[in-house]
């Protein structure tokens, strides 16, 4: 066949995947190719000879398109320039190209009109955009994972998923910064080079570590690092996925604390028992000695020794109450009554005489709680005493009881005292922790134990110099 353009060109046009029209300058269709048949649903014979506007826009409703198309056509004709236009024909999206054919005098002698069906292309684009948007939505909802990618130099090239939220950096601020900005290299012995070496050798690396936010806060995370390969399969970077495990750490810490307290309890019980005998003997002998005839100095010394032994005895008793393993008595009690019963007792503790007002807000609909009334009284006595002591200049203590969804009784004791600084709050229920100069620091740990034994919860919120709020929840029967 050869490359005889005269013979091939018609074949090319006839078989093109785009619509080809040849119009005179009036817009009448002189020629059209096969593609026009399938798009327009007409035979070539029914197209040729008719005006293009009438063929394309048979429907009167399409008059706007007709006018626009005509304007583009006129523009192209007048300015002798190719012009483009997109519109729907028979529910297909067609991208038109209008090309004036100029004669040797540079006048428009004809118009070549090409129309490409871009329906599928547009759909694909739209679909991709939908997926993209969906992904963005999905990712923006995932707050506990951060995904970022670095290049081989270690600079961040992509900062996606929950990275901005978790780490506080905005994409534009962190892009191309070195990834080490996200770790505290001074304290972190796990080196980036080590991690990347592992990833290169084994494909991925996972570890538990800490990331640093823009505000210099540390977040405990599980970090998974994978290879980032380019289209040819060559290593072009690394993908980091960090999962925030702050909540898990909190839970682990709480469990650890509970276990510590439990072990401490067992040790205390054992120790206390061992102490009984020596203490008993010392006390007993002291009593006997006191009755003997000694100089006043010796008698005074004996009294001092007896006092100290007394202190030890009280201490051991306290430790024992704290370590009590036995399940509490199970009586059906009214929490409002229990608290009411404690109030007169407060006066008998050694309290600084201060104008402290107690405001009671007792919930009306309070079902009974299965509890040991003495133990609960001890809890409230302890907390109320602390509240009193935190307000040497006087103040108000609010006691609020309420019914939480018929499941729990909630008791809140709110004071306006000196409060507890934030750094002490996490230790406040630990045994032997005390912010006071006297006392053993066992009171609150005993309270914690008692409430836990009752399947309840106890929490303290506090602000230095503003006051503290104890919130206790106890399940109804």
């Amino acid at each position: 066949m050869g490359t005889d353009i005269k013979k091939i060109l018609p074949k090319l046009i006839e078989n093109a995947a785009v619509m080809v029209f040849y119009l005179n300058h009036n817009g009448d269709i002189l020629l059209c190719n096969k593609k026009t048949e399938s798009v327009l649903g007409l035979k070539q014979a029914d197209i040729i000879g008719r005006n293009w506007l009438e063929v394309l826009f048979r429907d009167k409703k399409k008059s706007i398109k007709k006018n626009m198309f005509k304007a583009v056509m006129d523009d192209s004709t007048i300015y002798k320039r190719a012009k483009d236009f997109t519109c729907h024909i028979n529910q297909r999206l067609i991208s038109w190209s209008i090309n004036p054919v100029l004669d040797k005098d540079n006048q428009v002698e004809a118009i070549a009109l090409f129309g490409q069906d871009v329906t599928e292309i547009k759909e694909r684009e739209s679909s991709i955009k939908n997926i993209d948007d969906s992904l963005k939505n999905i990712f923006s909802g995932i707050k506990e994972y951060a995904l970022y990618v670095i290049n081989l130099d270690g600079n961040i090239t992509y900062f996606g998923m929950g990275s901005e939220t978790m780490l506080g950096w905005s994409k534009k601020d962190i892009i191309f910064k070195h990834v080490s900005i996200l770790r505290d290299i001074a304290t972190d012995s796990l080196s980036l080079e080590f991690i990347l070496e592992q990833v290169r050798s084994f494909g991925k690396y996972e570890t538990e570590t800490e990331l640093v936010t823009k505000n210099k806060e540390t977040i405990p995370v599980i970090l998974t690092v994978n290879q980032f390969l380019d289209a040819t399969g060559k290593l072009s970077g690394y993908v980091f996925i960090a999962k925030d495990i702050t909540e898990r750490r909190k839970l682990e810490y709480q469990i650890f604390q509970s276990e510590k307290i439990a072990v401490l309890g067992q040790l205390s019980a054992g120790m206390a028992h061992e102490i009984s005998n020596p203490l008993f003997v010392i006390s007993g002998r002291l009593e006997m000695l006191k009755q003997e005839d000694f100089s006043q100095k010796v008698k005074d010394d004996l009294v001092l020794i007896a006092d100290q032994t007394d202190r030890i005895r009280k201490l051991v008793n306290r430790i024992l109450k704290f370590s009590r393993k036995s399940t509490p008595l199970q009586e059906l009690i009214d929490i409002n009554e229990v608290i009411e019963g404690v109030l007169p007792l407060i006066r008998y503790n050694k309290l600084p005489s201060a104008k402290v007002e107690i405001e009671k807000y007792f919930g009306k609909n309070m079902p009974k709680i299965k509890a040991d009334p003495d133990q609960l009284q001890e809890v409230f006595l302890n907390i109320l005493t602390n509240a009193y002591q935190s307000m040497p200049g006087g103040g108000v203590i609010k006691i609020i009881t309420s019914n939480l969804q018929n499941l729990y009784a909630q008791i809140q004791i709110i004071d306006t005292g000196i409060g507890i600084p934030a750094q002490h709050l996490k230790n406040i229920f630990m045994p032997f922790f005390s912010t006071k100069n006297e006392g053993l620091g066992l009171g609150l740990s005993i309270c914690h134990n008692i409430i836990k034994n009752h399947n309840g919860e106890i929490e303290l919120t506090s602000q230095a110099n503003q006051g503290s709020t104890f919130t206790i929840k106890l399940p109804f029967t």
Binding site: A269, A272, H273, I275, S276, N277, P278, L279, F280, V281, S283, G284, R285, E287, M288, R313, V316, N317, L320, S323, S326
Partner: protein
């Protein structure tokens, strides 16, 4: 003499202390370290009261109590506890007829008074 007391405790300083304390109260005391010894002694001698430590090596305080009760229905037995007594254990001893408790964590004066009260009560009950 007020009472003849059998003191059962595994620690010598504790036994000696009781002996001296009771001497001041005009009581005669015999002491031993284990439950087995106590039961042997009880076969051959009579006592007004047994002062029995709840925690003993070998035969436990509870076991000794049970054994004593089988032979001597009316012999007052006062149990000694230390700090941290087990409430279950105490309930069991009550079940087996112990006449009262004194705790090593109590003041000595209080121990003596309480002890004497228990014995008095037990004897009066026995007479009924």
């Amino acid at each position: 003499m007020l009472y003849k007391i059998l003191v059962v405790d595994d620690e010598a300083p504790v036994r000696d202390l009781f002996e001296e304390l009771f001497k001041k109260e005009d009581c005669q005391t015999v002491t031993c370290a284990t439950g087995e010894e106590a039961l042997n002694i009880l076969k051959n001698e009579t006592f007004d009261v047994v002062l029995l430590d709840i925690k003993l090596p070998g035969m436990s305080g509870l076991e000794v109590l049970k054994n004593i009760r089988e032979i001597h229905k009316n012999l007052p037995v006062v149990m000694i506890t230390g700090f941290g007594f087990d409430e279950d254990l105490i309930a069991k001893t009550k079940q087996f007829g112990c006449s009262g408790y004194i705790g090593k964590n109590m003041h000595v004066a209080q121990i003596i008074v309480t002890f004497k009260q228990f014995v008095k009560n037990a004897k009066e009950k026995a007479l009924l």
